[in-house]
Symmetry: C2
Subunit: 457 residues, 2 copies
């Protein structure tokens, strides 16, 4: 009988074939037209969990996309329980014309698999399903109890997951949480994320005239909603990156000297990083370092804007409407609902009566700061080092995983963010990819982690 590690090694091609199947499903949670696909992805995960040997597997309905639950609880009452979290939903794939191969036709090139969701988060969550399978098909048991909770709304704010957690605290009871939905530092350089930004999203609709007007016949007499929206956007953030919404920074926890020192030691090569972005220069609040700006400072970015004629050539209209989608990343202790309300008050206070403005706040999660000195963190560092032969560094990450704050702060679960992505994985971007050696190493690390965690204290 092989060991779990040998089983994982021997079945590597099968695991990859299965992942390719998973990646074919366009489970874009924000697009209603993809709802059937998103449901199909939930059932795909449930079948994969059952097939791995997990029990009590269930696809649980919510108001929007279902949650998939499964567990294996035969390690004994003295063994610890780990709650594994992941998400089967993905970001929109648009703009499609920038993909070298179609986003839902997974393609392998140079040791990377290219597909929307490859790294975020299908490839990473599947690591743990295969680690469990590797134990159950060899030892016939796991060294500890596991519970899986895989949601379909991470990319749209996890609102229904929050509600589900509130109503199922006993079912979800555990000693620690494990999440793989982040990146390491580079090839062969593992990293444990201890800080995540929160986020919230606002949609702004500005309406001027009742219809698109001739820009010659009406120009000069009617306020143009695109011009008005541009004035609003210019007032939200100055050209150095300071956010100008009154009260926005009021609750921001200042960076301590100790943490600034820790962040200063973070091995980011700025010129490598800049080359990878393709931008002409780095940019942002001059009072903070790049690492601080990317992980420990709040942001405001227009994620989409449109209005008027956007087809080929010119159309001389004074448009009826203009729209912007705005994402804000938050740090401890900003509250997403309060930030949305501050945004709303400010926008209404500065828009002139010559246009109408509607603001819709969406989702929102608080930032998370995770305790670094815990038994699960130490076990994770050891599992990483045994697999990668390189010590793991601690890092803060600029992205958001809405449930982390919930696990860490509300449920009091020591949480481990054990990422297997790479900085160049292009998550949320065209040509998202996942480094296949990290898929393999991820399964090995997970197998080792589950073993170490069962003995951790």
């Amino acid at each position: 009988m092989p060991t779990p590690l040998e089983y994982a090694h021997n079945n590597r091609d099968t695991f990859l074939t299965e992942l390719i199947d998973f990646l074919r499903i366009p489970s874009v949670s924000t697009q209603a037209a993809r709802d059937a696909d998103t449901l199909e992805a939930a059932h795909w995960v449930a079948r994969a969990m059952t097939s791995a040997g997990l029990e009590h597997v269930e696809v649980i309905e919510t108001k929007r996309h279902p949650i998939v639950y499964g567990d294996w609880l035969h390690a004994g009452s003295h063994a610890p329980t780990v709650l594994v979290y992941g998400h089967y939903d993905v970001q929109p794939a648009e703009p499609l014309d920038l993909w070298e191969t179609p986003p839902f036709e997974p393609t392998i090139r140079d040791n990377y698999i290219y597909a929307r969701g490859a790294a975020d988060d299908k490839g990473q969550l599947y690591v743990h399903v295969k680690a469990v399978e590797s134990y159950l098909r060899t030892d016939g048991r796991l060294p500890l109890n596991v519970k899986f909770i895989i949601e379909g709304e991470e990319e749209i704010g996890s609102q229904n997951l929050h509600e589900f957690i509130s109503h199922n605290q006993t079912r979800l009871a555990a000693d620690s949480a494990l999440i793989s939905d982040s990146s390491i530092l580079g090839i062969g350089k593992p990293a444990l994320v201890y800080g995540l930004r929160g986020n919230c999203h606002v949609m702004v609709d500005v309406t001027g005239p009742g219809r698109d007007l001739h820009s010659g016949s009406y120009g000069g007499g009617i306020n143009n909603p695109i011009n008005a929206l541009a004035h609003l956007i210019a007032r939200l953030k100055d050209e150095q990156g300071h956010i100008l919404i009154p009260g926005f920074y009021d609750r921001v926890r200042p960076l301590s000297a100790e943490e600034r020192e820790l962040l200063a030691r973070f091995p980011l090569d700025e010129s490598d990083w800049l080359r990878e972005t393709g931008a002409p220069t780095a940019w942002g609040e001059p009072e903070y370092t790049l690492v601080e700006r990317l992980s420990a400072r709040p942001t405001l970015d227009i994620t989409g804007m449109y209005g008027g004629y956007i087809g080929q050539g010119a159309k001389t209209v004074l448009p009826a409407r203009a729209h912007a989608k705005i994402s804000m990343r938050l740090v401890p202790d900003q509250d997403p609902n309060e930030i949305i309300e501050l945004f709303r008050q400010f926008a209404h206070s500065v828009m002139p009566p010559s246009v109408k403005i509607d603001i819709h706040g969406a989702g929102g999660s608080r930032a998370a700061l995770i305790e670094r000195d815990t038994p699960p963190m130490r076990a994770a560092a050891a599992a990483y080092e045994a697999t990668f032969h390189h010590p793991a560094v601690f890092m803060r990450e600029g992205g958001s995983i809405p449930v982390v704050n919930r696990f860490e702060s509300d449920l009091g679960l020591p949480t481990v963010l054990m990422g297997f992505g790479l900085p160049g994985d292009r998550i949320h971007s065209p040509n998202e990819r996942f480094y296949l050696p990290n898929f393999d190493a991820g399964i090995v690390t997970s197998i080792r982690y589950l073993g170490l965690l069962s003995q951790a204290e």
Copy 2:
């Protein structure tokens, strides 16, 4: 044998059926995908001119869309020659979902015919083709010599027409020009336009990172091209409507006291006008009246803007690119090429090095002011009054007809802008329409004008 006026009356239904055929052709000059349709419209016009009895009809190739020429020159060397201008191209029909009936399926409701191009300019140019036919099929001759020049690039700046005019001055030699591509004051209230704004168009492309980035992982460290473009737009025009591009107003001819008085007498009902626009309030430079702002002051409007994710829901990207289309309306003596150059210099001077900016200036025409006290103007006023039983008023119009300045200033042709549109025709907007009683009255007015013009001095 009927008179020309009787012939027009008797054949009214046939004329309308023909116009419906013409309106079915989606001759959108700015869209390359419509090039075959635009060519088809040119040939349709050529066939209609031949069928009306015009001679030497020719579809003349240009670098883009052809020019249609035809004439009838048998009135004798002592009879005057009138050059009739119109355009068979139309504006884009988008956004299509706002049309009550499809833009290229002409539909009659309540005495209006709805279709893209109905008023601008297919319905109006066809008036003169039918007036010529009414003479030739009855009298067998016209009271004066006529030359028709119908182009397919009015909506994109008439660049090739300008070149054609330069090379064909003898062929186009005439004593006056006649254009129907404007509106009267209201139902039964004829108007002669004596001023038109010029225009120019600029496309701005702002590029930040090399691809759409994750707004969490990169936000705060990379300048967002939509935010940067919004800052630029906010710097182009203040919130009261003053354009801030240095030098923009330098050549603007100040309004004389006499002209301000003339414009003040213009019978515009501001509340009716506002209701028709559907906007919450009127708006613009507080130092000028609404009529002045709409016709005698230059403007800057964003006609379209887009960047990032514009689909349903949210996508948390820091986008790679942002784009704006900008229309400026010009007054005497602004030069469109100089204005584009001032725009370019200003935009480059204010954009930070953290983004790249590309600017493409397009087309452009100078404003026109037409001499009001000329024999053709008097003949036009008389023809209008005989048909509408209401005196014609003089007005300035905010739109642009690129060729007018060329006819009036460069060729020295006394020009008549004899419009048959109405202010609510929604030209350039969804549900463009043409008032059918004005189609009939237009033919009658044209028949009368050709007769009066042959005797004018």
